[in-house]
Symmetry: C2
Subunit: 301 residues, 2 copies
């Protein structure tokens, strides 16, 4: 089984949604990504937490088989994010961000991780994302995420990063901002013009679009749910299912990537059903296959 | 070939979009619906216009084979709508509405139309929609559209209408308002609880959802375009393609309805490519089949 390396955040989240409020629950891009990908592949995680990070949360991530030798514990407090979906389940309102030890995150890649075949650079400073890639000889398949802040404040670095990645994951607003194009097809093709082989534009509850140099390769709705509890981490969970499925497939052709997109959607549909990563605690591989089949049935006329 | 009867508006629209501005062009729900459906079925139209309605526009609709014996010309001016998509291509801002002869529209159904097998009640006062159905013996398959105004101001009549129709077409905001449910699955199931056999929730550039009593039957994205010129009439064009395809299929089972939904999406994707109904002037049946095939390729993993 191939290995995936993810570099990102492990955080303590305080989240309010119409379904309730939870304080200091396990969160972070690398957390959601790694747990999601763990259902398909071995996963190595690089992140940093503070001394206050509960051992039980480490044990929780580790119980999914995620390798935590790259999780550094530093003096200080863990990255904390507080957000609310009370007004709009589709869009988090950030109430408070405390970077804490994450503020001077300098990812150290353990020697054992340098053979990972797939790398996911979660949303961090693109200069750090570029710095990470210097550890590798360019044989890996790299995916990356980013956000409006870096598009606006580190535009040149982000464009440089685009030359180094095979997959870029952005949501529609980010893709529009980065490209300066309001039309989503033009935005997707702009991303590819910067270097990646595949661009994945995430549209939240409306699904996702996969672009290749030939144009749109797959246009898929999201798996709809009667109850959405907590959308936090849906994008990273999506990327985790996508990269995990690709690693499991062991090849990167259009068909494998299209299928990976559906698995990403399926994994995202699970995580929003409960707070934090709780839904994964009781998720079985057969639940994934069953929802994948249902999803295909609903989307094929 | 089965016949479809549509009752709605024939209008003169003034539309501003990022692509330009057009004054007093042909518009109206019955216009878009009938031209779209004409590619699949014979269509009978009931509407009213004023003395100022250009003969060339009548000839234009008639050139698609649409029967205009139900188009009444009355003293006064034609219904005029002025809208702008300059700020948001997904949402029309109404600048001005002049109902004119449409204000006291009392649909008269020509005797020749009473054998129509399919009826589409475009968005008008639900009391009028109910009144129209009194002309028929209940053997027809009826579809209807509505809007926020009637949901708020004629709620009881609209609910009564729901008992008489097989298909209800609403957009997501309308379905949420009518049901009082923010969740779209719950909104769809609410619509079906009122009587229709199928509910179709339109999501604009994000596609459409088909509901049956068993839940979601088909979840489809919209066919994306690099250039959207004028979204006016997309919903009625969608319904026209849908009902037209059903009439052509001559049966109403889940499979036929799922396929009709895709044809509705395809027809809507054409109309937004040009102002007014201009795109249809050069549309060939083979263009429809070609886009239908492309749409299926893009949505099937």
């Amino acid at each position: 089984m191939s290995e995936i390396l993810v570099i990102g955040s492990v955080a303590l989240d305080t989240v309010a949604t119409p379904a309730g409020r939870f304080n200091d629950v396990l969160g972070g891009s690398a957390t959601y990504f790694s747990i999601s990908a763990s259902f398909f592949s071995r996963v190595n995680l690089v992140a940093t937490v503070g001394k206050d990070f509960p051992d039980e949360y480490k044990a929780l991530i580790n119980a999914f088989g995620v390798d935590l030798r790259g999780l550094e514990t530093k003096a200080g407090k863990t990255f904390r994010w507080e957000g609310s979906y009370v007004d709009d389940l589709n869009c988090a309102k950030t109430i408070n961000t405390q970077l804490n030890v994450f503020a001077d995150f300098k990812p150290k890649i353990p020697a054992e991780y340098k053979d990972s075949k797939y790398i996911f650079l979660a949303n961090i400073d693109p200069d750090l994302q570029l710095f990470i890639l210097k550890n590798f000889r360019g044989q890996q398949l790299v995916g990356c995420d980013s956000m409006n802040y870096w598009i606006q404040n580190k535009n040149a670095s982000l464009k440089k990063l685009m030359k180094e990645v095979s997959f870029v994951f952005l949501n529609d607003a980010e893709a529009r901002l980065f490209s300066g194009e309001s039309n989503i097809i033009k935005a997707g093709m702009f991303l590819l013009s910067l270097g990646p082989r595949f661009a994945i534009i995430k549209r939240g509850e409306y699904g996702a679009i996969l672009f290749t140099k030939q144009g749109i390769s797959l246009l898929t709705p999201a798996f709809l749910l009667e109850t959405v509890c907590d959308p936090t981490g849906a994008g990273d969970t999506f990327a985790g299912g996508f990269m995990g499925m690709l690693a499991r497939a062991g090849k990167v052709n259009d068909q494998a990537v299209r299928q990976a997109l559906l698995y990403g959607s399926v994994m995202a549909s699970f995580t929003v059903e409960d707070f934090s990563v709780n839904r994964f605690l009781k998720l079985k591989k057969r639940d994934i296959e069953s929802r994948y089949k249902k999803f295909k049935d609903l989307t094929i006329p």
